[in-house]
Symmetry: C2
Subunit: 204 residues, 2 copies
């Protein structure tokens, strides 16, 4: 029992470290993450923190995976069982903007911020980020393609453009709310998403 409990405790500690790391990195960037400040925030020793990861790069990669898992749970999971194509695109817009409207991290959308932080910094963090982003992009393209086949989007639709547009609108919610203080940012994004999907809203 002791062995099993200590494995569970180590797993809990690791999750606590990652949750705190994701919060800190969402505000100050993944590059700004330091083991020292993380240890202080958690009331742990630096050795205690780094022992779970080995080095800063592994901590950054694990923090990115943690944030991607939160995104998957909050945005993809509520939509994944909806019929593929336009119904699922609508469901994704719903869950995505509900998520962006009450950000899971104090600094706002983690993946969007990391994509601006690392877009011109080649290396393992950018590669891991790109893998997460490509997977999501491919999902959006797949559902848009099914929507075209079903006649829910015009045959002339550029499905890559649809995916680009949805990602762009979602990524802009956090900076708009935090810099302009615009509490309607998620609403603007959702209405613009529907407009790109050919479903303009009549909100006035």
């Amino acid at each position: 029992m002791t062995g099993r409990r200590s494995v569970a405790e180590a797993s809990n500690t690791r999750q606590n470290i990652l949750s705190c790391a994701a919060d800190m990195a969402s505000v100050e960037g993944l590059e700004g993450l330091t083991v020292g400040r993380l240890a202080t925030a958690l009331g742990m020793s630096k050795a205690g923190v780094i022992g779970h990861f080995g080095n800063k790069l592994e901590l950054q990669l694990a923090t990115l995976d943690f944030a991607a898992e939160v995104f998957r749970r909050e945005v993809w999971q509520p939509a994944q069982h909806v019929s593929a194509g336009m119904p699922r695109l609508f469901a994704i817009c719903d869950s995505w903007m509900a998520y962006a409207g009450r950000p899971a991290f104090p600094g706002g959308c983690f993946i969007a911020a990391a994509s601006h932080e690392f877009d011109s910094r080649p290396g393992p963090v950018r590669d891991a980020l790109a893998a997460h982003m490509r997977q999501w992009h491919a999902q959006l393209v797949a559902d848009a393609s099914i929507a075209v086949e079903a006649g829910d989007l015009p045959t002339s639709t550029d499905v890559e453009q649809i995916a680009f547009g949805l990602e762009a609108l979602a990524a802009r919610v956090s900076p708009t709310r935090q810099i302009y203080g615009d509490e309607r940012a998620a609403e603007h994004a959702k209405d613009s998403m529907l407009s790109l999907l050919g479903q303009p809203t009549a909100r006035t």
Copy 2:
């Protein structure tokens, strides 16, 4: 003459420092900017660099103003004499996406990256950034409002949403090109902008 020449030389040196600082900050963030690395890149002493600004904060603020001036010259200037309203919005989409397609800074769009870096960091840099962004946002809202009055956009149009959408699409060009390697990012953004303005393109 000597006095006048040294004023001109100091001004040139200051502009050279700012140009290098904007290039570096576009890749590594405004917070990552250090006087030491900037001095090394310019082949100057640290004292020589900081003498033009006083401290790191003033250097950050001057770098931000420099980047905002590049944006004004490249995006606003080509469009400013076009008729207000929809014609100017189209002209802005043209110059903006031409600018985003051949980024002025190695790290891509400076203002978009800074907005993600500083959105949850209150202070003078965020305040200055917000002032630049609000001015541009107000211009987009003003032209969208004139387009509504002229009947070029439906009366139900939410002009804040139009401005949000255009800003979101523009901001996503650099990370999309740099992370996905998608050379069509500016084209996707422009077509999506026209779609939000009720002018879907028929590119296939």
